[in-house]
């Protein structure tokens, strides 16, 4: 499995797409650093860009890459290896390659242009987002046989997590404004990994002071060891569930 993962990772890393993606990320980061003169603002800008870019790019790339690899996966399946190893080789190679490109592009920009104070949080969030959306993409790609339908679904899902879900939150808060709902803000965001990463980061950079009562309640939650444990467990579940569904689909799939 390690050998296959190694070769597949190399294959992805050498693609033009990865080069373009890496350069693009780096240029965006550097651009944000040089446009404004304030480091914290630039870092917030970078993080916001990543929150949009990573889910969409990871989903579209992963889904289309899986469809492209159908023939090769089939060839691997005729070799004396268990199916689950083939699944994990392709999943891990995809994740490794994406992470390597993303983290080195962002990391380089942050090391060159900032004091590196938010490097770790940004890396952690990028890693979570990549793993989560790669797992979801695997699930989509192995569940839907048609390429166009699969890519369409992933784009839709991306838009859902990016905007539609937040829109629903907005409407919910508006209709429930008579009730003391401050407590449930964090609960709502548990159901959207992008929101969860965003809020985690907001509390890292300490914008939370702007957030009034809602912020105070959330800070208390996130600050407590129980709260942060719950959040990280939920993030892990966001990887685990789609991944296990994807594995199930792959093990039963007709090639």
């Amino acid at each position: 499995m390690i050998k296959i993962t190694k070769y597949l990772t190399l294959n992805i890393l050498k693609s033009k797409f990865m080069l373009v993606y890496g350069v693009l990320l780096f240029v965006i980061c550097v651009g944000l650093f040089t446009l404004g003169n304030d480091q914290d603002k630039a870092i917030i800008g970078i993080h916001n860009t990543l929150l949009i870019l990573i889910p969409i790019v990871v989903m579209i790339y992963t889904v289309s890459h899986i469809y492209q690899s159908t023939d090769f996966i089939r060839l691997l399946l005729t070799q004396p290896i268990q199916r689950k190893y083939i699944f994990f080789s392709q999943f891990l190679s995809n994740v490794f390659a994406l992470l390597l490109v993303q983290l080195s592009a962002i990391g380089l920009a942050l090391v060159l242009f900032s004091d590196g104070s938010f490097l770790f949080s940004i890396m952690v969030n990028s890693t979570f987002l990549t793993l989560i959306f790669s797992a979801i993409s695997n699930w989509i790609a192995f569940s839907i046989d048609e390429k166009v339908k699969g890519i369409g679904t992933s784009i839709l899902l991306g838009i859902y997590f990016l905007a539609i879900y937040d829109g629903i939150i907005l409407m919910l808060i508006q209709t429930m404004s008579e009730y003391p709902i401050e407590k449930y803000g964090i609960t709502l965001s548990l159901f959207n990994p992008i929101d969860l990463c965003r809020i985690l980061f907001i509390f890292k950079i300490d914008i939370s002071a702007l957030m009034g009562l809602t912020g105070a309640i959330m800070e208390k939650f996130i600050g407590s060891s129980l709260g942060s444990t719950i959040i990280y467990i939920v993030l892990l579940l966001w990887i685990g569930f789609p991944l296990s569904f994807a594995v199930k689909k792959f093990l039963k799939k007709d090639y």
Binding site: K3, I4, Y7, L8, L10, N11, I12, L13, K14, S15, Q68, S69, T70, D71, F72, R74, L75, L77, T78, Q79, P80, I81, Q82, R83, K252, D254, Y255
Partner: protein
């Protein structure tokens, strides 16, 4: 040796294979033919473990293929590849496959005859359809498997390469079990010893080519098959 026993396979409600019983023995080169959608591909996929089947069993050298993936060590499969990983070098592909199969006694005859060494450092994404076909053939034979399953092996190959491959197949015949699908009946006529004819998910016949020709009094396999199909149609 491949032994297919009462094999049934359904896709949803659609029944594709309905009780296939076939014994392929060492020394046979069986040509698998039939019209489109009669289950040729499905049968191959069942044998390779690419798809699950409902009832029946497939034994390879006496062992059920449901016991685990190890039986695939005995199989060389030449697939109809659309594409290999684009940025993998040809050498890397062989390296990877060698690591997976872990076989000492390699058969690199096709690799050399197809002159793949020269293009070792090219990315697989840059290769033409014919070259990809050569790569697939070389891979199938490389690990000296007891069983060869060749899916449209000569499709896309130039005449010279096609002859090299056919020679190789006949040369390997003695101690191997070989299953070939092909639309080019002339090729099968040259190399196959048996014909396995599938119709609507069932084995219509499984005979040696010579018997078949004798029965129908034809010199060519293509004409023989055409005649049989015509008869069928008239009957129904």
């Amino acid at each position: 040796m491949i032994s297919v026993q009462n094999l049934h396979k359904k896709y949803g409600k659609h029944s594709v294979l309905q009780g296939i019983n076939v014994e392929l023995k060492k020394g046979m080169i069986a040509g698998l033919i039939g019209q489109n959608g009669t289950g040729k591909t499905t049968l191959i996929k069942c044998i390779l473990g690419l798809t699950e089947f409902q009832t029946g069993d497939i034994l390879i050298e006496g062992k059920s293929i449901q016991a685990g993936p190890e039986y695939r060590n005995k199989i060389g499969y030449m697939a109809q590849m659309g594409r290999y990983p684009e940025n993998m070098k040809l050498a890397q592909l062989f390296e990877m496959m060698k690591e997976i199969r872990d076989v000492k006694n390699l058969d690199e005859q096709l690799f050399e005859q197809f002159a793949l060494k020269k293009i070792e450092h090219q990315n697989l994404g840059q290769l033409s359809g014919g070259t990809i076909q050569k790569v697939s053939a070389a891979l199938a034979f490389m690990f000296n498997p007891e069983i060869l399953i060749l899916d449209e092996p000569t499709a896309g190959l130039d005449p010279v390469a096609s002859e090299i491959l056919k020679d190789k197949i006949t040369q390997e015949r003695e101690n191997k079990t070989i299953l070939i699908t092909s639309h080019i009946l002339n090729d099968l006529d040259e190399i196959a010893s048996h014909v396995l004819f599938l119709q609507e998910g069932k084995v219509l016949f499984f005979e040696t080519i010579n018997d078949l020709k004798e029965k129908n009094g034809q010199q060519k396999l293509g004409k023989t098959i055409a005649e049989i199909m015509l008869e069928k149609e008239i009957k129904s």
